[in-house]
Amino acid sequence: MAEMWINMGPQHPMTHGLWNLRIKVDGETIVDAEPEVGYLHRGIEKLCEDRTYTQIIPIADRLCYGASLAWSHLYCMTVEDLMGIEVPERAEYIRVAALEMQRIASHLMWLAAYAADLGAMIGFIYSMRDREVFIDILQALSGSRITYNFPRIGGVAHDVYPTFERDTLRACGYMEKKLKEYEDLYEGSKVFMMRNEGVGVLKKQDAMNLGVTGPSLRASGVKYDIRKDMPYSVYPEIDFEPATHPDCDCYSRFKVRMDEMYQSCRIIRQAVAKMPKGKWRVLAPRNGPVGTGIGRVEDPRGEGMMYVVGNGTDRPYRLKIRSPIFVSVSAAPKMLIGYKVADVVAIMGGLDMCIGETDR
């Protein structure tokens, strides 16, 4: 059959969000691919220049619907770096516990979308059901379910609620039990392994050259996790192991995310146990100094980075956001070429696309 270009997107069930993947197929085999992003550009970086430092926190929440807490935390971290604020230790532990819960919720949402892409609606329903457990805790903690607006410059908005420790430990126990169930459901399924093993191979060297970060990079066998390599918050005091897997394929990406959820449960348990008494917030000055601040975090999808320039007023002069997926998606042609049309969903699903942060 003659080669033809197919637009997968902007409105296509494969694209979780609003982006376009143009693929050139020869029969069912992909010979070329070209991701196009930018459909959801909201000008967030420019919006931030016209808001005070405090007003930007909810905007940072809107960067990603799956992991909004990670982004507002990153923003607060960056501005604390600019202002030179020391965050109370209790606030840091609350942040870490909330961040890891957000990471589990985000990975569960990825798993739901991934299973639905591969045709297992049962995985979608189960993941969404279990995500609810963590969303409920975050809701009790912050008051909302998707965009939490919880971190503040110099701490968190308020202290944990009275039964936080009990709920969290219970949720972790529940999650660890369910993760075993997921492994039975997916790895026990011959069809799932057929669809994932050896598909979408991204070699270690390619992954590093293309700037892929996060679970996708660790799935290529690179042990690079900002929580370990450039520790922030109280991660140095917590014992955990970044999950890696050497296979470089879709199964490897699946496995890394599953292992990360185990690790997140470990981190949450430790953070809750070590949480000291004390203040959870210090007041930040209204005006930032002249200077720059930088923050790097391990977002559920990769390395998130923000760079802020202050000019002495109450608004930032410039805020630059580095999105992990914006960089990772450029690896799409490397991963896609040579595989079938049906593998597009597995490969691009394995990247965990989030268009809000990609297009900003």
């Binding site: 045709g119 049962i122 049906a342």
Partner: protein
């Protein structure tokens, strides 16, 4: 009394009722017309004419019963899916009968939607495709025989038409042609790929399926529902031909295009496959037809391998047949909701490299059993 005799009696009674008036008119009109009226009345009363209309009535009855069953199937599928997925399934529409009316509500919703025909489609193929697809499936539906006395292929003279199962398979195999036509004429890349996938899938799964059917025919020595089912009086064919049973079930899932093998309409990669350009009630028809084909699949598995309508005489034969068909359907749905979708090359590999040798092996077993004189 079988279904044919029942329909024959009813049609006969109706014709007689009309003929009373007809003959009375003939008696009271001038002789030129009167003779014509007598002649027409006699023709209407002839055995051949009444038999023809009786068969028409049979088909209508079978299709209506089958369609009610299909509605039931959709409801069962949704409830069963709900139980597996940790939710209730249909609940509010028809609250007192377990949400059974949800199907009708969905049908009405689809019915009032606008029917859009895109401007650049090939009109003939686009409009004729659904007709062929639905009509062939309905015809296959009408051939299903529930019991010796209940089915289209019963008539007064002997117990059944000799090739009724072959006819059912022939009707069942028309669908991929219609799907290919629809996929091509929709003028859309996704529908085209969906249609071609469907053709490849049907081609490669039809052969092992018919080999399994051939092994059953070999053991039964007959091509009809009656012959095959009565040959399973002592032992169901699922026991000696256990390989064939599973191969046939797998092929049937592929033929019906449901979950592990639903590549032609894989919604994640091909939007909706070959149904992408068909909105509104046409989509509703496709959805109903896919369940219809699931039902035909269950019925064929029952007739070929699970002893058809045979069972302890506690309940009528027809109900035994339906219960078995429903159970097969539930197993198929179970596979559907707990499996992922295979890729197209893997699908063809499964078809040609796994199922085909197994089907041949099954045929050899059937030949061996026949030569040993055990069947």
């Amino acid at each position: 009394m079988n279904l044919f005799e029942f329909c024959f009696g009813i049609i006969h009674w109706l014709v007689d009722l009309v003929n009373h008036l007809w003959y009375w008119l003939g008696d009271h009109l001038p002789w030129v017309f009167g003779d014509f009226f007598d002649w027409a009345g006699d023709l209407a009363r002839s055995h051949g004419n009444i038999a023809f209309f009786a068969i028409m009535a049979e088909v209508v009855i079978m299709v209506v019963i089958a369609l009610v069953n299909v509605l039931n199937f959709i409801w069962i599928d949704r409830k069963w899916m709900g139980r597996m997925f940790d939710f209730y399934g249909p609940y509010y529409v028809g609250y007192r009968i377990g949400g059974w009316l949800q199907n009708l509500a969905d049908g009405i919703k689809l019915f009032v939607k606008e029917i859009i025909t895109p401007t650049k489609v090939d009109k003939i193929g686009f409009l004729l495709g659904p007709v062929i697809f639905v009509a062939s499936s309905v015809l296959a539906l009408a051939t299903i025989q529930f019991s010796p006395r209940f089915g289209v292929f019963t008539n007064g003279i002997d117990t059944g038409v000799s090739a009724s199962l072959l006819i059912a398979f022939a009707f069942f195999a028309i669908a991929p042609f219609a799907i290919l036509v629809m996929g091509w004429s929709s003028n859309n890349k996704y529908t085209l790929i969906g249609g071609l996938r469907s053709a490849a899938q049907m081609m490669s799964y039809e052969i092992p399926m018919l080999l399994c059917v051939a092994s059953v025919f070999l053991l039964a020595g007959d091509f009809s529902f009656m012959g095959v089912v009565s040959a399973q009086h002592d032992v169901w064919f699922a026991i000696p031909l256990v390989i064939g049973f599973f191969v046939f079930l797998t092929c049937m899932v592929a033929e019906v295009e449901i979950q592990p093998f639903d590549l032609p309409e894989a919604e994640a990669e091909l939007v909706e496959g070959w149904t992408t350009e068909y909105p509104g009630f046409r989509f509703g028809l496709f959805m109903m037809t896919s369940y219809m084909r699931g039902y035909i699949g269950g019925a064929l598995v029952t007739a070929l391998f699970l002893g058809g309508w045979q069972g302890p005489a506690l309940i009528p034969d027809e109900f035994w047949f339906l219960i078995k068909a429903y159970l097969v359907f539930l197993v198929i749905e179970w596979m559907r909701w707990s499996n992922m979708r295979v890729r197209v090359d893997q699908l063809l590999n499964i078809g040609w490299k796994r199922l085909m040798p197994l089907a041949v092996l099954n045929l050899l077993i059937a030949v061996a059993l026949k030569t040993m004189g055990w069947f």
